[in-house]
Each structure stands twice: as C-alpha cells, then as structure tokens.
Amino acid sequence: MIVIFALAIIAMAAQIWINNLKFENPVAQIYQNGELLHNKVPLLQNQDFPLNGNLVQVRNGKIGITEASCPDKICVKTGFVNGVIPVICLPNRVEVRIANHKSDIDGITG
C-alpha cells in the first residue's frame, strides 16, 4: 500500500516536473510548404536555419526570420518572437511558431 502511494507521489512529481520542463524551455517549430523542417528548436541556444528563400535565426531566447527573398519582407518586420504570435512568410510559405508558449491566448485576430 505504502509502495503504491509512494509510486503515485513520484509519478505526480514527475508529471509536474515534465510540465515545468516543457514550459520553461520554449521550443519552436519551423515549417516550409507544410513540411515540418525543424521540430523542437530550443530558443535558449543561438542557431541559424537557412531555408529556401529565408533565414531563420534564434537569438537570446527568441526566434525570427531575418532574411527573406520576398518583396514585402513582412516576416522580417515581424521581428523576433517567443509567444503566441507566429512569424509567417506567405510568399515562401514559411511558418515559424512556438510550440509551447506560456501565453493563455487561444487565437489571434487581425
């Protein structure tokens, strides 16, 4: 009985720890043409991801598109993000989003 109880406590603690881990280490996903090119990109580690037409960079806990071959460069102007707002380059069909952001927002209009 005690063993089962102890195991249950450990399991709960592990679940909380895993959840915290998920939320404290934000990771991003990079898609192009619907294909998941990079999954679980850690934002705590500065990295570059050259894509066809875009350069995605991780800097200081945030991720953004810093170079784009498209004319409007809206994605570059969006800057670096680490929350609910994704970075999207429609002409090159690139989407960068945070998989486990802390925001309590379900969606964004506008």
């Binding site: 043409n33 619907g34 409007d72 429609l90 309590d104 969606g107 506008g110």
Partner: protein, 340 residues
C-alpha cells in the same frame, strides 16, 4: 489564388492543454493565407479528428478553387466574364455565397459590397487611377445590379445588369469558409476546436486551455500599429471573430461610394458574431463608415447578435455592444471608450 498543398499533422498530447486532452493541429495555405485547425478531445484514436480536419480542409480547397479571382477557369471567373450577356448557372455553394453577400450588402447599405471586382482591378493595375477612370466605373458598380434567379430547368442563375461589374468576395470569403468548416467539424462529431484563416477565427465548444476552468476562449486582437503585440484580449463563449484594417498583409479596403481606399477613422475593426460571413462583412462596413453603419442593423444590435472593438488611428480602443453581446463575455478594456 493557389491552393496549396500541404497537410501537416501535429499531435501533441497535453502540451498547453488540460491533462488528458489531446490536440490535433494542421495548417494549410489557401485563399492566399495560412489556415490552421486545432481539434481538441479525449481521443482514443486521433483518426476521428484527422478525418474531420481532412473534410474541413477539403471544403476550404473547394471554396478557394471556386472563388479564385485570377484563374480564368474558376466558377467565379466564369460568372464574371459571362453574366452580363446572359444568366449564368451557378453551383449551390456559389448561390449561397452570393445570396449571403447580397443580404449583407443590403444590410450595410452597400458599405460592404460584393460587386467591386472591377474597381479592385483598376487600383491593382494603375496604383493611382485618375478621377475620370473612377468616375466612369462607379455607376456600373453596386450589389443591386446583381440578380439571382431560377431558370426553367430549376437551376439558380446570376446575371449582371451592368457590363463592367465583377463579383469579388475578398471581404467575405474567409468568414464564409470558416462557417462551412465549422459546420463540417461539428457534423463529424468534433465538440472542441478553433479554426483560423488569415486572422479570422471560429470556435466550437469549450477551450481546453491549461488553467482555464471556464471553457471560454481568449482571442487576442493584434495591435494594428505593432503586429507583434496584442492591443486587446476578448473572451468569447462561441461564434466567430473577424478583423478589417490596414494591416501590412491586409487587402486594400475600398469605399464603394467614392471608389477610393477607405479613409477610415479606424486602424482596425474587430467584429464578433455567430457567423463568420457576418463578422467579416460587418468589420469591413464599420471600418469604412464607422459604427453608425450598423444602425440599419438594428435587429442584430437589439438582440445582441454582434459586438465589436475598434482601434482608432490615434490608438484609442472603442467598444460597441460588448455588455449585451451573446458571444463576448469579457475583455481587458485597456482604458478604452465604451459605446454601449
């Protein structure tokens, strides 16, 4: 419009959701923008969610193809090139969209208008057309020049009474698509989901967001002056949300009365209502003419069937009918002005 393409499927269990709730999420490029569907549930098998999402995206692709303004083979182009000479037979989906568009054009006294294709073409072609060119075109526009009837074979037809008139559904297509996709998801047994097409949103059931005991959905309104920020957060229990404005990515919004881009007092207008097509069209009409355009929509207003949030060009947030709205049960009211 290019229909694309991909289907990606991400199944993430319990991340960002209440425990034991799974989310199946997919995105696709259609209607020149990004569309995302998230379906939530206690799935023993995610195939139910996946097949529902497949069916919803099929509908989106179908509408995208039907409404492709630049493809000469689309149903819309076929109508636009032939409906002045003779009545053109139309599909059931097209007939419903045209009739919804005509209803909303009438409801807003033509501030929202589905007949502006040639005007949009003129501005796209010339960037700064002359007053003469606009004056020549204006008299031939107007939703009242679009006639829907049924021919002797019992098929719905559309006819234009003006030669230069062309249908354009830029301010209603995404909202209408959300309505259709929500209908399909519900039909497929989905009871918690959110659909987003290029910044327009529809929700089904309750939000399973982690730490959310109410089941209500929180929808951020993007700051029109800083696309990385939200200027308002709305709490809704159901329905759809659409925003019109001069966002970087947004289409130009033209004023049917003058033929010029809307000289709006607003930087953006967000409308919440039970139907995506209504939210979409009303946000355009209010953006062009201000809240008073909805005075003619009194039956809607009195019953609390829509509410709205406007951001003025000075950055002031103005609310309309939030207190008696059936859909919006709260907002953070960033010190904005309440019109109620």
């Amino acid at each position: 419009m290019r229909v694309i393409l991909f289907i990606l499927c991400v199944v993430v269990v319990t991340v960002g959701c209440s425990p034991n709730i799974a989310v199946v999420e997919r995105s696709a490029f259609a209607m020149d923008t990004l569309a995302t569907i998230k379906v939530y549930g206690n799935f023993f098998d995610t195939k139910v969610a996946e097949s529902a999402i497949d069916a919803a995206f099929e509908k989106l692709y179908e509408l995208d193809k039907m409404l492709d303004y630049n493809n000469p083979d689309s149903e819309l182009s076929r109508i636009n090139s032939a409906a002045y000479a003779n009545p053109v037979e139309i599909s059931a989906a097209m007939s419903e969209l045209i009739e919804t568009g005509l209803f909303l054009s009438e409801l807003t006294n033509g501030e929202f208008d589905i007949s502006l294709g040639s005007l949009i073409d003129l501005w796209n072609r010339e960037h700064s057309p002359s007053q003469n060119e606009i004056d020549e075109l204006l008299p031939s526009l107007g939703y009242m020049n679009i006639l829907v009837s049924v021919n002797e074979r019992g098929v719905k037809t559309v006819r234009f009474t003006e030669n230069s008139l062309k249908l354009h559904f830029g301010s209603i297509a995404k909202g209408y698509a959300i309505d259709e996709m929500m209908r399909i998801l519900r039909f497929k047994g989905i009871n918690s989901a959110i659909i987003e097409i290029g910044g327009e949103i529809g929700v089904i059931g309750e939000s399973p967001r982690l730490g959310n005991d109410t089941g209500l959905w929180k929808i951020g309104v993007r700051d029109p002056f800083n696309s990385n920020e939200m200027i308002e957060i709305l709490t809704i229990n159901r329905g759809t949300v659409a925003t019109s404005g001069f966002y970087e990515r947004g289409e130009h919004i033209f004023e049917p009365a003058t033929g010029y881009p809307a000289g709006s007092e607003f930087a953006s207008v967000t409308i919440i209502s039970d139907r995506g097509a209504v939210s979409d069209a009303l946000s355009t009409a209010v953006f062009i003419r201000g809240w008073e355009v909805l005075e003619s929509v009194s039956w809607y207003e009195e019953e609390g069937w829509y509410c709205g949030v406007g951001v003025t060009k000075e950055g002031e947030v103005i609310y309309s009918h939030l207190d008696d709205c059936h859909f919006c049960v709260g907002n953070n009211r960033n010190g904005g002005t309440n019109l109620d």
